[in-house]
Point group: C2
Chain length 426, copies 2
Amino acid sequence: MAKTIRIGFLGFGTVGTGAFRMLQDNRDAIVKKIGLSFEVAKIGIKDTSKERGVDPSLFTTDLDSIVNDPTIDVVIEVIGGVDPAARLVEAALKHGKHVVTANKELIAKHGSRLVHLAKSKGLDLHYEAAVGGGIPLIQPLKHQLAGNDLVRMMGILNGTTNYILTMMEEEEADYSDALREAQEKGYAEADPTNDVEGIDTGYKISILASIAGGKQVAVNEVYREGISKVSATDIAYAASWGYRIKLLGIAEMIGEAVRVRVHPTMIPLTHPLASVNGVYNALWIHGDFVGDVMFSGRGAGSDPTGSAVIGDFLDVGRNIFAGGSGSAIPYDEGMKTAPMDDLETTYYLRIQVEDKPRTLGEISMVFGRHEISIAEMQMRTLPSEKGEIVCLTHKAKESAVQAALAEVQWLPCVSKVATTIRVETA
Amino acid sequence: MAKTIRIGFLGFGTVGTGAFRMLQDNRDAIVKKIGLSFEVAKIGIKDTSKERGVDPSLFTTDLDSIVNDPTIDVVIEVIGGVDPAARLVEAALKHGKHVVTANKELIAKHGSRLVHLAKSKGLDLHYEAAVGGGIPLIQPLKHQLAGNDLVRMMGILNGTTNYILTMMEEEEADYSDALREAQEKGYAEADPTNDVEGIDTGYKISILASIAGGKQVAVNEVYREGISKVSATDIAYAASWGYRIKLLGIAEMIGEAVRVRVHPTMIPLTHPLASVNGVYNALWIHGDFVGDVMFSGRGAGSDPTGSAVIGDFLDVGRNIFAGGSGSAIPYDEGMKTAPMDDLETTYYLRIQVEDKPRTLGEISMVFGRHEISIAEMQMRTLPSEKGEIVCLTHKAKESAVQAALAEVQWLPCVSKVATTIRVETA
C-alpha cells in the first residue's frame, strides 16, 4: 500500500465529529473500499480548550496551515457559512487538495465557481452532505436520474421545521411552544431564524434546482416564506380537508427557467411527503421518464450527515487510487428563474372578519373581480362578534390572489388576513 | 466535438424501447451532459418482421455482429436471462466495449466475474436498472452510503407481486383473481412464476446484498417463498393486528455473513414500506451511521427502467469524454450466508382445526415444548365443525417454529397449517 491519504478537517462540530467517528469506527472497511490507507492529519478549530476526546495534537486554530499544508490530500470542510469557508475551500483547491464539504450556503452561493475551479485543477469537489443529510440526493440527481427532464421537485429539507410542524399537529401545540420544545431537545438553535424562516431550505432547494436545471440559481431569486405564521388552527383546518402542512422547497422547470420557492404548503395526506414526519427529510422528484421517485431519511444530525461526508470521501479516495479525479460535473451561473407572480395553484386562506351580514358577500365580490373562485369554505364564529372565514380556492394566479388579498384586508368587515398557504397536490 | 459514441442495443423489448425513446426525446440535454454526441448504430433482435417505429436498417438478428463490431463503443444489454446475454456481454467486454445492462439474473449470477473482467480492461459495466427500475439504488449503495455498515435492507422489489397484494387488500380479492387482473393489465406475464414465486425478487436482493457485503451472494443460498399461499383471509387478519403483508427481499448482516431471504412478510402499517402500494417499489435501508433511509418509485416499466439505463449510459459517456472509465467497484465471489434456521423473529400462523374441546390445548402444548410462546390469538368457527386458530408468536427461532409446525400438522385435531408468515417490525 503505497500512499496514505492525509485528511485535514476544517471545523469539528456536529457534522465533523460524526464524519471523524465514522472514519474511526468503519476504518477497515473504508480502507478496503478505497484501496489506500488514510489518516486524519489536522483538525482546524476555533477553540482548542474544549475537550473533544481526540488526540489534542491534531488540533490547530490556524486553518490556513491546513489548506496550505503540502502533505494534505483531502480537505473536509464542515465549518458552515461563507466566511471563512469560501476563502479556505478556494485556497485548498488552489493548493491541489480535493474538497468534501457539507456547506449548503457555500455551494448555493459559490458552487458554480468552486466546482469549475476544482475541475480546472483535476480535483474532486463533492457536497452530498449539503442537502438532505445522510440521504443520497445530489449524486443520484447528477448521475442515475441525469437522463430525465426533472420537471418538478418538492422536498422536506429542514428537520427543525418538520419537527415543529409535526409537534404542532400531534400535540395541537402553538408554534411558539413547539419551537421551545424543539430547542429543548436540541433540534432547533437558540436563534432559529435560519431554519424557521426557510433560509436553510432555500439554500438546499436552490442547489437541487441548479443541478436539475444545469445552471446555478441565484439564491436571492428563491421565493421564501417561513413557518412562523402557521398556527395550530391552520393545521386543524388542513386536516379537516385531508391535508397536512409542510415547509417545502419546490423547484419546477418552466421552459428554460426554473421557479424555486420555499413556503408552508398544504399537501394531501395521501402524498408520500405527507407521512414524512419529525426530523425526517425527503425529496420527491418527478422526471419525464422515471416518473415519481422519493428519497427519505435523516436529513441532519452528526452520524447521518457524517455518513454523507464519508461517502464523498470514499469517492475522492477511490479516484486518488484508481485515477478519475476531477470528474465533477460543473454548472455555470445564470439560471433563469420564473417569477412567483405567474404561479398558478390553489390557495388556503384564513380571514378574520366582523361577524356581520354582508361580510361574506363583500369578500366574495373581491375574489370574483380577481377571477378567483372558491372550492371549499368553512365559517365559524369567534368570541366577541368576530368570525373566521376559511377557504380553499380553485386554481388561481399568485398575482391575482395577492391583489385580491391586498384589497380584502382593507374591507371594513375584515380584521385581518390571518394565513395564506399554497396547496400542492403533486 | 471529436467523437460520436456509437451504441449497440442487445434486445429491444420494454426496457430497450424506453431507453431508446429517452435517447431520442432528451437527446440535446444528454449530449450536453456527456460532452459528446452519440448515435444508435445497431439494434439486435430476434424477429425483424415486427413493426417498431424505428429505422429498420438499424435492426439485425446477428447479435454477435454487434459485440464484435469495432466501431461500437457501448453495448446496452436488455435481453434478460443468462443465455445468450452472459456470452454476449462477455464478448462485448473482451472486444473493448463498455456495457450497460438491466439484467438482474445475469448480474446476480455472474456479476462478480463480469465486473472484474470490465475492470481489468479499463471498461465500465453498470447495472443500475437491474434492481428497482428507475429508482437509484445500486450506485447510492456503492457510493453515498458506502461508509456505512449496511446492517439491514428490506425491499419491495417486484411490482407485479406488490400490485397483486395491493389488489387483494383493496378489493378483498383472492390471489387467483388478483393475479388475473394483473395479467389483464399487463403487470403480470402469462407465466407469472418468476414474479410470484419470488425468483425475480431473489435476484434483486442478492445483488443488493452482494454490494452491501462486498462479495457475491450465491443465488441458490437465497431463501425464497412466493405469494401464492397468501389469502385474503391472511390479509384481513394482518390488518386486524395493524399489519400489512408485502413480498419483501430482506438482507441482514450477521457478523461476516449475510442472511438473504424472500418471503411474504407482515410489517406494521406504520412502517414506511407499508404505504408503498401498487406497482411501486421501495428499498428501506438501515446503516450504522446513516440510520434509516428509504428510496421509492416505479420499479419496472419501459420509461422508468429506461431512465436507469440511460443514467448509466451518461456515466459511461462522461468517462469516455473525460477519462475515468473502468472505475467500477468489483466484488469477489464467496459471500458467506447465514442459515435460515437461525433466524429469530415473530410469526403469524393460521391453522385449520377440528372444532373440538382439546384442540387449543394440544396445539399449545406442542408450541410450549418448542419454547414458542404466543403473543396474540384469534379463533373462529368455520362451517361444518371446522375452526381456525390464528396467532402471532413472540420472538422464536425459525428452526423451532418449523419443528413445531411439523408436529402440529400431524395432530388429529389439526386439518392443516394454512399459512406461516414471518413478521418484521424494522
